[in-house]
Amino acid sequence: MTATDVTTPQIQIPGVSVEQDTDTEDLVVNIGPQHPSTHGVLRLITTLNGEVVKEMEAVIGYLHRSKEKMAEGVSYFQYQPTIDRVEYLSSFYDHYAYVTAVEKIAGLKVPKRVEYIRMITMELNRITSHLLWFGTFLLDLGATSPFFYAFRDREEIFKIFEDITGARMMYNYYRFGGLNNDITPGWLDKVRYFCDWFPDRLDEYEAIVNKNPIVMDRTIGLGLIDRELCMKYGVTGPNIRAAGVPMDLRKTNPYCCYDEIEFDVPVGERGDVYDRYIVRMKEMRESLRIIRQAIDKIPGGDAAEVEKLRQAVAAKEEAAKAKAKETGEKPEPVPPINPDFEFKGQKINLMTYKPPAGEAYTTVESPRGLLGCYMISDGTPKAARVKWRGASFSNLAALPELMIGQLYPDLMAIFGSLDVIMPEVDR
């Protein structure tokens, strides 16, 4: 840090850079593992020249909880609660990837109502995740208030989740071939109310942030990501879409019932931090659009109506039995309710459930990007291998290259804009 060469002439010749004349030392700053802006426990060994980053190396693994090893030690169902902890901000997606992998290997049929409920919950979860990103990203830029606003709105979604899952963060709601329980009566109205209430909030946030000169100055043209860089590091999600590549698995490889829903894939133009911000804000609106359509299209509609149908079937069965008692014949078979209206498919014993031998690689478009779950089943009650492909893992790998030559304060903007969450990186 100190200029050791004191004999350096003080007069600077025009055209000669300072670095040639003065002897300076680089400053190695060890950012993290505990640091307010590393969103968890990430260590960045950064070499600074003044405030310009010369080199950077990311050291990960501080949050490694051996989730993959755990999967080999417990039954398929017992592993489910730990999935929530793989990525706690949008754990519906991890559950979906895991549950789908099992369903595909076992060939379990999933009722359509389940797929729709999964879609609604996943999209709501995308909004919570993007909202948290919005808050923390602006906190990284130095604005404190949006953090609180974002948390207030997440609270509303958490209430909606709490109604059906009983949990605010660790949902553990999906089951092989179905759900743990049906949605509660009136839940869809709550979601619809949220969909009407939330756009005003988004307008407010965009009014605060979108044209803010400080935000624009700090984000536009910064941290440019193009298609080549995305391919080089495996960057996905809003980050690659901000670079203008419309890679969205919901659109390109539709899973769930996304092929029945109309929605757009927002893409950016330049791939800078500002574009990533804009893309995420637009994605929240698209999520709302998906949820609205899903509510209208959900088979069976509200839980109360499905319950009515179920009771009608039960009443008919009772009547048929009573009639059979009178006449002494076999009771007439009563047609059950549409299987698409059920919240679970085949009846299975979850605790001991095991799929047959096989393997599957399921991919989901999580809020952070491509989430993959590679499962190998060897026919035993425990999985032979479960591998998580977290989107953050690959997104983070691109950070050192993005940071070379940038200013130290830009680190927070760029790192924040990648939306990396450490538990997903370390698993």
């Binding site: 906190l139 208030s145 400080i214 536009i220 200013l407």
Partner: protein, 436 residues
């Protein structure tokens, strides 16, 4: 030696004031006669002690106010557990900090590490002696008060740099260095903005500047028309306000602390009372800056309607005759003055807190650019305008005044439009592909 003492004494007598008559009358009522030679440093010391106590109380209140205001802005409740409405929260925090362990690591420079907070803290409180809270509650009425104020307040930067260096922490070091750069950049527009006021007023005595603002301009009856912020120096005021926020290291200029980047900047390594000292000093500096803004641009301790309300409405005399104590009218006037002063100051502090709740942080290069490329040219233009006005005595005539105002608006507006291009250029560039 004796000569020197007498010279000093003369200087002091010329600059340090005596107690006012109404105070002597008040004391006379309870049977105490103040000594006649109760002039020199004694009275100043008494006043300063009083101001320091008031200042401490104000600072302690401000910490709570900031938390409440931020809570209000973010739709929370804020501290409400300790005392009624959480009023004692800051005291409780202070006591907690007082009892915390004072941690120093092995490789820290112990002397400088301890000296840093003191160096930061002292100037922030010494400047209180120069601020006229009322016409009498002013410890030293220096003819060069404004100059001394900025000279003192720039010392506190040394405290930050020292503590950044002595902490033996890279974040602290970066914070200290940023602080030095920021202070150099923002003291220039700050002082240039005040220079315009001083140029117009013809004095650096802060109390005289306040009195000038009360004299009225263009024959308008209302006092606030002649406030320097309203008619003559809107530009000075804007530059001064922005720079003063930068000077006290608050968002959006809180780069030396920069919680999300430098953890906490220069005070990362500090615990306990040393940390509390930094904390107090920051708020004390904010309070001093707010008070100074009021003095320079918002008519100081006078009411917005010109003069004092109690004097205009004869409330002071009526009260005095009712109570029957000589000198009570003076006390009423002083109380009104300090009320106006505090009210105006807290409005500015509130605005600073509001800004903190709304804006993100600048980058160091943008920070420097904003100062050197925008504020300093703007303040030079401003000084030029004021000089023109001063030379031709424009303000004595309404027509000339309007013409000058038009020139000011055109010139400054043009400059601002030009500069805003710089900030919006990136946006235009961004939307280019969409337009074509």
């Amino acid at each position: 030696m004796v000569e020197l003492v007498s010279v000093l004494k003369t200087m002091a007598v010329s600059q340090v004031q005596s107690y006012p008559d109404w105070l002597a009358q008040l004391f006379g009522f309870i049977g105490v006669s103040l000594p006649d030679d109760f002039l020199l440093f004694q009275w100043a010391v008494i006043l300063f002690t009083a101001i320091a106590i008031v200042g401490q109380a104000a600072v302690v209140f401000m910490v709570l106010m900031e938390r409440k205001v931020l809570a209000w802005l973010t739709q929370r409740i804020g501290p409400n557990r300790v005392g009624p409405f959480g009023l004692l929260q800051t005291l409780a925090d202070g006591v907690k900090l007082l009892f915390k362990e004072d941690i120093m690591t092995r490789d820290q420079d112990k002397l400088l590490f301890t000296l840093g907070p003191a160096l930061f803290f002292l100037p922030c409180f010494v400047v209180y002696a120069l601020i006229p809270f009322t016409s009498e509650l002013l410890a030293i009425a220096l003819p060069t008060g404004a100059l001394l104020f900025f000279a003192l307040s720039s010392i506190s930067v040394i405290g930050i740099v020292i503590s950044g260096w002595a902490s033996n922490n890279k974040y602290s070091l970066l914070g200290g260095m940023r602080s030095a750069a920021q202070a150099i950049s923002y003291e220039i527009p700050l002082v240039l903005a005040v220079l315009a006021v001083v140029l117009y007023a013809g004095t650096m005595n802060i109390r005289d500047i306040i009195e000038m603002q009360n004299n009225g301009a263009f024959g308008f009856p209302f006092g606030f028309i002649s406030w320097f912020s309203i008619w003559l120096f809107p530009l000075s005021f804007i530059i001064f306000f922005i720079s003063s926020i930068a000077e006290v290291n608050r968002i959006p200029f809180d780069l030396p602390e920069a919680e999300s980047e430098l953890v906490s900047g220069y005070n990362t390594e500090y615990t306990g009372m040393k940390f509390a000292t930094f904390f107090l000093a920051e708020y004390a500096a904010l309070f001093a800056m707010g008070a100074l803004t009021v003095c320079f641009f918002f008519g100081g301790y006078y009411s917005p309607l010109g003069g004092l309300l109690s004097e205009t409405l004869k409330i002071d005399v009526i009260l005095q005759s009712l109570i029957g104590i000589d000198g009570f009218a003076g006390l009423v006037r002083q109380l009104e003055m300090i009320s106006w002063m505090m009210l105006k100051t807290y409005i500015f502090i509130f605005v600073a807190m509001w800004i903190r709740g709304s804006l993100p942080r600048l980058k160091p290069d943008e920070l420097m650019g904003f100062s050197w490329k925008f504020l300093i040219p703007l303040s030079l233009i401003n000084i030029f305008m004021i000089a023109i006005q001063k030379y031709w005595h424009v303000t004595s005539d309404l027509t000339f005044g309007l013409a000058w105002a038009a020139v000011l608006v055109l010139g400054v507006g043009g400059f601002c439009v030009m500069m805003s291009r710089h900030f919006t250029a990136k946006l235009e560039e961004r939307f280019k592909p969409a337009l074509t």
